[in-house]
């Protein structure tokens, strides 16, 4: 039956590595081996020590790979928890320490929801004065704007947070400059490096951020583990209270197998980064050229393709005027291609991307977008599959899109009359 091919049979092209990337076999092996040990890493007996040793080895391994110290590595359940811990924890701690009455949180307008939503929450519930740092048309944060704000209001600033690289359009942010500026003004700086790790160099000796978020499953590790790399001298108020693990910042039983597997994945991602980026840039260029050749009016969003300083090597983000992203996604899905409209949403219901809106893209165009993201397992066959399937999908999606736009016009006309 034809529908069976959709989900089960046939070769499929997975081009959604920014959502998650397949687990590295070595990481899976490390996880399995660590599960042989029965102890709780917090226990004081031999079994506990054996388990704790795995956790600490993983911590050291990750610290080495990121050029930081082991005591800075706080294991969490993943990117979202790390972001929440950094944003809320640093905000609360600094507000209390300095007795800030009118604390400012400055965040880029293109953050992932795991940062965006806690920041908004602080604004709504904790009296934070939220300032959104604008971005240019390529999705690059305006660091001059931030410098000016730091000069004017550093003493009121509780936190600056700017992601290392954007998850939708792949734009790499000037985090080194921002980190240095924030340090000069003594303002804590957090960066979400979930999309950057493994794709661009993440060297924390070069980028003096206060806190850095990384995630396991985005680099070939398991789901459900991540880390917040946070200066051990920085005070941070915990979000989860309990047994006092992880320097009392993040309570909860250590997950030794996940930590072991995570460390293996980070090691691989960091060591293979340069050669992988080269490979991904080839696929990226091929796909971008291929898309524009079959859909000439397609718009490639974000930084210049192939510019390793501006754009993640595996990211191709495209707007196809007149076609809705979710129609394209479904039609490509049927053609054996897994891609994304940009940011995943729990209910599976498309909202126009706040990232594109912040870049000045209109709502219509924002809804007509697709994100392709290559990773470790990607091949030129994946590019060929997209280029082959896209023209037909675009034709159909545009037909469907023209109905919605007629409908939209009718509604507008009716509203105008009323």
């Amino acid at each position: 039956m034809a529908s069976q091919q959709w989900d089960d049979g046939g070769r499929r092209s997975f081009i959604d590595h920014a959502a998650t990337t397949p687990m590295l076999p070595e990481a899976r092996q490390a996880w399995l081996e660590a599960t042989e040990i029965a102890g709780n890493p917090s226990s004081l007996h031999a079994a506990g020590r054996a388990a704790r040793r795995i956790v600490e080895e993983a911590r050291e391994s990750i610290a080495d790979d990121l050029s930081t110290r082991p005591s800075a590595v706080v294991f969490t359940s993943g990117g979202t928890e790390s972001d929440n811990l950094a944003v809320k924890g640093l905000f609360w701690a600094r507000r209390a320490r300095l007795g800030l009455v009118d604390p400012v949180v400055a965040a880029s307008a293109i953050e992932h929801h795991a940062v965006l939503d806690p920041v908004e929450w602080l604004g709504k519930h904790e009296g934070a004065d939220v300032e959104w740092i604008p971005v240019d048309a390529l999705g690059r944060v305006d660091s001059a704007w931030l410098d000016e704000r730091l000069t004017d209001a550093a003493e009121r600033m509780a936190l600056v947070t700017v992601m290392w690289a954007n998850n939708e359009v792949g734009t790499i942010q000037p985090v080194r400059d921002i980190a240095i500026a924030c340090r000069e003004f003594g303002v804590p700086f957090h960066t979400d490096a979930v999309q950057a790790l493994g794709h661009v160099p993440v060297n924390l000796s070069q980028v003096p951020a206060t806190a850095v978020t990384i995630s396991g499953h985005k680099v070939g590790g398991p789901f459900g583990i991540g880390a917040l790399i946070i200066d051990p001298h920085e005070s941070v108020v915990p979000v989860s209270h309990g047994g006092g693990q992880e320097r009392d910042i993040r309570s909860g039983t250590f997950d030794a197998p996940a930590a072991a597997a995570f460390a293996v994945a980070v090691r691989h991602a960091v060591h293979a980064q340069t050669s992988r980026a080269e490979h991904l840039r080839e696929l990226q260029a091929e796909l971008a050229n291929g898309i524009v050749s079959v859909v000439p009016d397609a718009i490639i969003n974000g930084g210049a393709i192939g510019d390793g300083d501006q754009r993640l090597p595996g990211n191709v983000h495209v707007s196809i005027p007149g076609a809705e992203g979710d129609s394209l996604l479904m039609l490509l899905d049927a053609a054996g291609i897994d891609c994304s409209t940009g940011s995943a949403c729990t209910a599976g219901i498309p909202e126009p991307s706040h990232v594109l809106l912040a870049m000045g893209v209109d709502e219509r165009t924002a809804r007509s977008s697709l994100r392709f993201s290559f990773g470790r397992t990607s091949t030129p066959d994946d590019v060929a599959a997209v280029v082959a399937a896209l023209p037909g999908a675009v034709d159909r999606a545009r037909r469907a899109g023209s109905i919605s736009s007629d409908r939209f016009r009718e509604a507008r006309a009716a509203a105008g009359e009323a």
Binding site: L331, I349, A411
Partner: protein, 376 residues
């Protein structure tokens, strides 16, 4: 064929989708996100609850078909909910399920499916599409208890060939058994009865919240005396007897019913039940599911509620309105309800009732207003 199966998360749509898969079609499950509620932070959620959306997804998993959520909440808000409120604001009694079928399921959803290369839409409605001499015809379901042809009488004739109702030949009990046999988790789910965007069933409360309190008096049509008050004409329905809290008994001691609502003065009239007997009506917003009537009277049957039977009638089309004379009066008919015309089991079309004539009135349907006849 390539078919979109609309999966509401209920047992009927589950089995309908399963049957389309069995028939060898390439089926894609689609759950419609319709209502944006405050409880979900203004984000779209599926019709009707998170449980339903989840059940729909799990049914698609069980059937091995792809699953998507399509967001029609903007269309739903405008074409169904706004219309619902506007009708009540105008003292009419709308049926939002018909509007949803007209604008969402068999318009927005079907249009989108066809444009995306599908051949049609399958739903779990109880009705049949029969291939007639002049093309497809919409007929009542085999299960007369469950028959839903009334709420489908808003599908334009040329769209019928894209509509699949795989349950039309089944009875509800068998559908549940089949769901159980197939191991579908929706097998034991209770049927939904409420309006999906008013899950607690408190329509009056919902309307008061949306439209605001609009108090007025309740007047006995016989005596002309005020006998009570109400918090908004939309909180009462034509034919309603209970819950009116009438403080002054009727002259003849008989129970009194809401027999008319005067929009201009927010006055609700109560009176004897026979005043509710309607034998003629005019309906606009006409949609033909079969070849249209013309200005000659035609013998039909007419049904005015989803869960009611059709009565013998004569109908004709005059300047975009249908006029219907009932050979058996129907009690308690509110404007805004839909009248559906049938020829035997075949649906001819539908219209929204704009005016009714009481059996006890001398006037024609256009000027038929029971209280005017009485008050004159």
């Amino acid at each position: 064929m390539r078919i979109v199966a609309a999966l509401s998360g209920g047992v009927d749509s589950s089995v309908a989708a399963a049957r389309m898969v069995d028939a060898g079609h390439e089926v894609v499950g689609v759950h419609l996100a319709l209502a944006r509620t405050e409880a979900t932070g203004g984000k779209s959620r599926g019709c009707c609850t998170i449980d339903d959306a989840r059940d729909a997804r799990r049914v698609a998993d069980a059937l091995g078909i792809p699953f998507y959520v399509w967001d029609f909440s903007a269309e739903f808000a405008e074409d169904v909910m706004e219309d619902f409120l506007a009708e009540y604001r105008a003292n009419r009694t709308p049926n939002p399920c018909l509007r949803c079928n007209e604008h969402i399921k068999f318009r927005a959803l079907l249009d989108r499916a066809l444009a995306l290369g599908f051949d049609g839409v399958a739903t779990g409605h109880y009705a049949r599409v029969v291939q007639g001499l002049d093309g497809p015809e919409l007929h009542r379901a085999e299960d007369s208890e469950k028959d839903q042809s009334y709420v489908l009488a808003v599908i334009e004739r040329e769209l019928l060939r894209h509509c699949y109702f795989p349950l039309g030949d089944s009875v509800k009990g068998d559908v549940r058994l089949e769901a159980e046999r197939r191991g579908l988790r929706t097998a034991t789910k209770p049927d939904s009865h409420d309006i999906c965007f008013i899950p607690d069933g408190d329509t009056a409360g919902f309307l008061t919240n949306k439209l605001g309190e609009r108090p007025g008096s309740i007047v006995d049509l016989g005596s002309g005396q005020q006998v009570g008050s109400h918090q908004g004409t939309f909180t009462v329905t034509i034919g309603q007897r209970r819950g009116l809290d009438l403080r002054i008994p009727g002259e003849d001691g008989r129970p009194r019913y809401v027999v008319d609502i005067d929009a201009a003065t927010d006055t609700v009239y109560v009176g004897a039940p026979e005043l509710l007997d309607v034998d003629a009506m005019v309906a606009d917003h006409v949609i033909w599911t079969a070849p249209p009537l013309d200005d000659r009277w035609r013998d039909v049957t007419a049904q005015v509620r989803a869960h009611h039977h059709a009565v013998p009638a004569q109908a004709r089309l005059i300047s975009d309105c249908i006029e219907v004379f009932l050979l058996e009066p129907v009690r308690g008919l509110a404007t805004g309800q839909s009248v559906v015309l049938y020829d035997g089991s075949m649906v001819l079309g539908s219209g929204r009732i704009r005016d009714t004539r009481s059996v006890h009135s001398e006037a024609g349907p256009h000027e038929a207003r029971p209280q005017e006849a009485q008050r004159a």
